[in-house]
């Protein structure tokens, strides 16, 4: 070792001064165990309110509990077998995949683009920054009812303006082909600003010197982004994508209010399907199995993003 050992050693308390030991001696049992006791209530609470439902849910998923059949036993794999056999579930899984991929990819790209446009600060940009912050505070239900009215095919403003501009007026939420993309569009409204705000914060706090050095070296716009800006904001971008992935899988209000899963099964995603099976149709055991499936399906992209965030 190059550093002399005496430098790292803590000097003994000076005689006369109240020693650390004396201060500690006055502490009560509560004080000595403080850190353990401080964490205990939260730890116990989280443990109870998450583990108990998970275990109960797992148990239910092997049972055939419905509104008419109340007994949990016998436990079978019937629900899971049903999941694999049911073509409805396949449709729902494909819808979920389309929805999550569309929403997350578009939100990440558009959010990044908007953040890059607003990096430079002037008075006008400050106004835009505030505007793009607004959707973050708006509850999903409020966003959903507004868009529901705006996209209404007979009385909505959007089709009215499209008509004025002699543009085609899609049936938005009512048609099988446009319903799911329309819900994605509304998801973009609340999702893009989340990515923008996070990436913008990273852009602003990124050191300026490398960018200026790249400028001096004559790097073009793309090279500056690819080799200087992007590495600096990558953690924030991955994090934003992660948050939006979680949100996309959990999305419920938009489906319930905008489409109710329809037309047909066209906008039924897994989270909504779980709700329908359990709460609406009372197939509680089957719904519990679907909820476990949701947890497993959701883990895949999260693990991928997590690995991406770790790679250097």
């Amino acid at each position: 070792m190059t550093v002399p050992a005496t430098q790292t050693r803590i000097s003994p308390p000076e005689p006369g001064a109240p020693s650390r030991i004396a201060a500690l001696r006055n502490w009560s049992v509560f004080d000595r165990r403080f850190f353990g006791l401080a964490a205990l209530p939260a730890f116990l609470a989280v443990f109870v309110i998450t583990v108990v439902p998970l275990v109960v849910g797992l148990g239910l998923s092997f049972s055939s509990v419905t509104s008419t059949h109340n007994g949990v036993l016998p436990l079978t794999f019937a629900n899971y077998k049903h999941i694999f056999d049911d073509s409805e579930v396949h449709t729902v899984l494909i819808n979920t995949l389309i929805y999550v991929v569309l929403a997350v990819v578009l939100e990440t790209l558009l959010g990044l683009g908007l953040a890059l446009l607003m990096t430079r600060k002037n008075r006008a940009i400050s106004v835009f920054r505030v505007i793009f912050l607004l959707p973050l505070t708006v509850a999903g239900v409020a966003a959903a009812i507004s868009w529901d009215a705006l996209l209404n095919t007979s009385q909505g403003w959007v089709d009215y303006f499209l008509n004025l501009a002699h543009l085609p007026q899609p049936n938005w939420l009512a048609s099988a082909t446009t319903a799911l993309p329309s819900v994605v569009l509304v998801d973009l409204w609340s999702g893009v600003p989340v990515v923008t705000v996070i990436v913008l914060a990273a852009l602003i706090s990124a050191p300026r010197d490398p960018i200026e050095a790249a400028l001096v070296d004559g790097a073009g716009v793309w090279a500056r982004f690819r080799y200087v800006t992007f590495p600096a904001i990558r953690p924030a971008l991955v994090l934003a994508a992660l948050l939006r992935t979680v949100a996309a899988f959990q999305q419920f209000a938009l489906f319930q209010i905008l489409t109710g899963g329809g037309p047909g099964l066209n906008t039924t995603v897994l989270n909504f399907y779980v709700y329908q099976q359990t709460i609406v149709f009372n197939n509680i055991g089957y719904g519990a199995a679907l909820a476990i499936l949701l947890l497993v399906v959701m883990a895949v992209p999260l693990v991928i993003l997590f690995v991406l965030s770790r790679r250097r």
Partner: protein, 292 residues
């Protein structure tokens, strides 16, 4: 000190006219894109704001009536009726969820930040899992459990369900904020004879107060606007405002002006709270991973 690009002297205008034209058009392009984005963002908010003050008939008018005599009758009808009760329920649930999350989450966050809690890696992963797991995984079993404990349609039942996500979030975020406070601060207080509780309360907590208000805001906003759990676990007595808003949509003859007013009542308190706290909003959103 780093030199910021916007403070650099601009090159003389005459030198490179082509560059300047390019730059100006780039600037115009930027603003065109930003304006398109802003219209997209503001459109539903504008619909909400204008429709909420219209009469039911004017709400359906096409072309949209931009200027019509504003009426507040939608709000008086709503707030004196069942919806007023729902708003109160939302306030109670949001306040209780925030209070519980902070009360349990602050000491735990402090503890995780300061003391090497045994198995903290596992606890951390568990907390993240609890936060990102879809609410359906917890709320549907809770629905069954609550049936047996008669906790359905109660405030505490809903608050407890919310804490499955909110409490891990609070602990995690408070840990990040406490970790930024130098350890020496607490140690100095201990040596001066403060008990650990007192040191946390009087010395450390005041330094992380902005963090506490951010967490409080995010937790409050989340429980104020939450829909999924409330739709399943509440009933006529404890129905929250978001669920009540949806019940307006369900009817065949949706009254748009009243619907918009109800939506606005959900949006405005959240907006005011955000403006009041503002600071740290982004760092809170990202679990403290991004500094503002």
């Amino acid at each position: 000190m780093s030199i910021r690009a916007d403070k650099l002297p601009t090159p003389p205008a005459s030198r490179r006219p082509r560059r300047i034209i390019q730059r100006a058009s780039g600037g115009v392009f930027t603003y065109v894109l930003l304006i398109i984005g802003a219209v997209f963002v503001l459109l539903p908010l504008f619909w909400l704001l204008s429709t909420a003050f219209k009469t039911p008939a004017a709400a359906f008018a096409l072309p949209p009536k931009w200027i019509s005599k504003p009426t507040t009758s939608n709000f008086t009808t709503l707030l004196t009726g069942q919806f007023g009760h729902s708003v109160l329920n939302s306030l109670i649930v949001a306040a209780a969820s925030t209070a519980v999350a902070l009360l349990l989450g602050i000491p735990a966050g402090y503890s995780f930040a300061r003391a090497p809690v045994r198995g903290s890696r596992i606890i951390n992963s568990w907390f993240i899992l609890a936060y990102v797991a879809p609410p359906a995984v917890f709320i549907i079993p809770l629905y069954i459990i609550y049936q047996h404990l008669s906790l359905l349609d109660t405030y505490w039942g809903l608050v407890l369900a919310y804490e499955t996500g909110l409490l891990p979030f609070t602990v995690w975020l408070m840990r990040v904020y406490f970790a930024e406070v130098p350890r020496e601060l607490d140690e100095a207080a201990w040596i001066d004879g403060c008990s650990k509780m007192r040191a946390l309360w009087r010395v450390v907590l005041p330094t992380v107060w902005p963090g506490v208000s951010t967490v409080g805001l995010l937790v409050g906003l989340a429980s104020w606007g939450e829909y999924f759990g409330a739709a399943i676990l509440t009933g006529p007595r404890t129905q929250t405002a978001p669920v009540a808003v949806y019940s307006f949509v369900g009817t065949l003859t949706t009254n748009w002006s009243e619907l918009a007013a109800a939506g606005l009542i959900v949006v405005v308190p959240a907006l005011i709270a955000t403006i009041a706290v503002q600071r740290g909003f982004v760092s809170g959103l990202t679990f403290g991973a991004v500094k503002q």
